[in-house]
Symmetry: C2
Subunit: 304 residues, 2 copies
DNA sequence: CTGAAAGCGCTTACAG
DNA sequence: CTGAAAGCGCTTACAG
């Protein structure tokens, strides 16, 4: 084409406001430049931060993300996965409910790009990005010990659905207790439904020999404990010391500021996006189904 | 088709794991059953809650949402709008930066389904869903008065970009002050950059006649004020009373619990989705470019 | 009622 | 190098 022809075309594009139909291009190219992100609930700060990091990574490569909430319901998860797949999206990052083993398996066999976040599903092999949860508990236990608390407890949300972080945090806690030659008191270790957190906490505090320090298994548990603490005028850390896993936004303005263990959420989202986009760009690549455990980080404040 | 034939087909679908290619269907049908949601920053709880409500509404109709962050950058906004449009999505819900008037105008002329959230762009007509911001300030002022505070102040983030809620909250505050025959003291009214909130607050408190009560213009301002308050051992509400617009998650566990004004975020998201999906389902429909102002709601607690 | 054909708007391999 | 044709995988109007 001559220079003039090129200019004419460019002019016409401008004049008619021509926009290519990317849908048609996608149909031909077999790439929609769109990925799905399936979380349990976007309202959890943890998920939101990871989504933001994923979106940032995608944005640089002109990928878009479709966000879905499962509310931990395997049926919703199944519906989303199937519909996203039918929409020909290029890959999925998912916080798996664990309730669709057959479907995960089929996806794996068809070599569809998937990265798991936060939870390990042992029956199936996908690259998985999560916190080094045992390490998180270990850091907390050691911080408690460094501040001379010896009777330590942990409260997490229910463990019946086998959700990785809860299980690993409990295990990490127990291991750290034993490694430090402390007594393991089962009454100090509770995994309970959300509605029972405050009452279990109360029971612990009312033991003849109550724990001196509690590790809150996640942000939700921490909030429940703080509600109980405020209602009952309990003093932190004098009556009970506290560390929370998840660096909640209010940790710094609470009185006293709360010591937390931060998950590197942005790094986690970025890493998951990188792994997924890598696989998308080179589908023949031998998949590296590693489990990536990222390091938790202690944020020392004054609740312990 | 006979019953047997139908069964055979169903069996084959099951056996071969046939999934229709929705992309091809979309190309033909001119509907992708996907909408874009362009927010300033998904990390803001306000945006997250609205996104969740939109997603819930969409999910019922098998629509998906693509989430984008502009960071208030008109260039990012432009890029997203154009790319989503080229991807043939069916509509967009957007927290507009206000920096792309020509593009908004073109979209309007092409009758593309759009709903604006949170911000009014007066140069262009789209259905717009936002808080009744003046009412929010009025409720706060009246709550302060009911608790016998007479010297009232307000702090918001910067107003230079003409972002609707900030402007309207200031205006509503002034009107309420005048309606109640109180003196309007400009030194008690500040709209400042994020980094200057604490120092402006300090200046106010150091006036010879400081305000007795402060309305925090949004969650971010509230957090900054609380940080300053904690650092300086100021007592709420004795030294200064506080109301925050945005019902932050920690309001209830702070000591004292903080009185807030809740935005009906879920209702806002749901309404925006309904308006958009209505328009998408019936593109000939005369568009109702109304401004929908939803009612703020006082959450009485103990900071005032 | 059934089945073949056209068309959605691109990209790409290929003939001229 | 240029331009027409085929094809992506659907849906739908239409001929038989």
């Amino acid at each position: 084409m001559g220079v003039e022809t090129k200019k004419k075309i460019a002019d016409s594009i401008e004049e008619l406001q021509y926009q290519p139909n990317i849908l048609a291009r996608s149909l031909k190219n077999k790439s929609t430049k769109t990925i799905g992100v399936i979380v349990a609930n976007i309202l959890h700060e943890f998920s939101t931060q990871i989504i933001r990091a994923i979106e940032d990574s995608c944005q640089e490569l002109d990928f878009h993300i479709i966000v879905c909430n499962t509310d931990e319901d395997p049926e919703k998860e199944e519906k989303y996965i199937k519909m996203l797949y039918a929409k020909q999206i290029d890959g999925i990052i998912i916080f798996p409910t664990g309730g669709n083993l057959k479907l995960y398996d089929r996806l794996q066999k068809s070599n569809f790009p998937i990265v798991f976040m936060d939870r390990i599903i042992s029956e199936v092999k996908f690259p998985t990005v999560l916190l080094d949860n045992e390490k998180a508990s270990e850091i907390a236990v050691e911080e408690f010990l460094a501040n001379n608390y010896r009777k330590l407890g942990i409260i997490t949300t229910s463990v019946i659905k086998n959700i990785t972080p809860r299980i690993e945090r409990i295990n990490g806690f127990k291991k750290a207790i034993e490694r430090n030659n402390l007594a393991l008191d089962q009454r100090y270790i509770k995994s309970v439904e959300k509605g029972s957190i405050q009452s279990e906490f109360e029971k612990m505090l009312n033991l003849t020999s109550p724990p001196q320090a509690i590790l809150a298994g996640n942000d939700f548990v921490l909030i429940e404990l703080l509600k109980y603490i405020r209602k009952n005028c309990i003093s932190i850390p004098n009556d009970v010391a506290l560390i929370g896993i998840d660096d909640v936004s209010f940790a710094n303005l609470y009185n006293p500021p709360i010591t937390t263990i931060r998950q590197p959420t942005f790094e986690m989202g970025k890493l998951a996006a990188e792994i997924l986009l890598d696989k998308i760009n080179d589908s023949e690549k031998t998949i590296n189904n590693k489990i990536y455990r990222l390091k938790p980080e202690l944020r020392k404040r004054s609740s312990c």
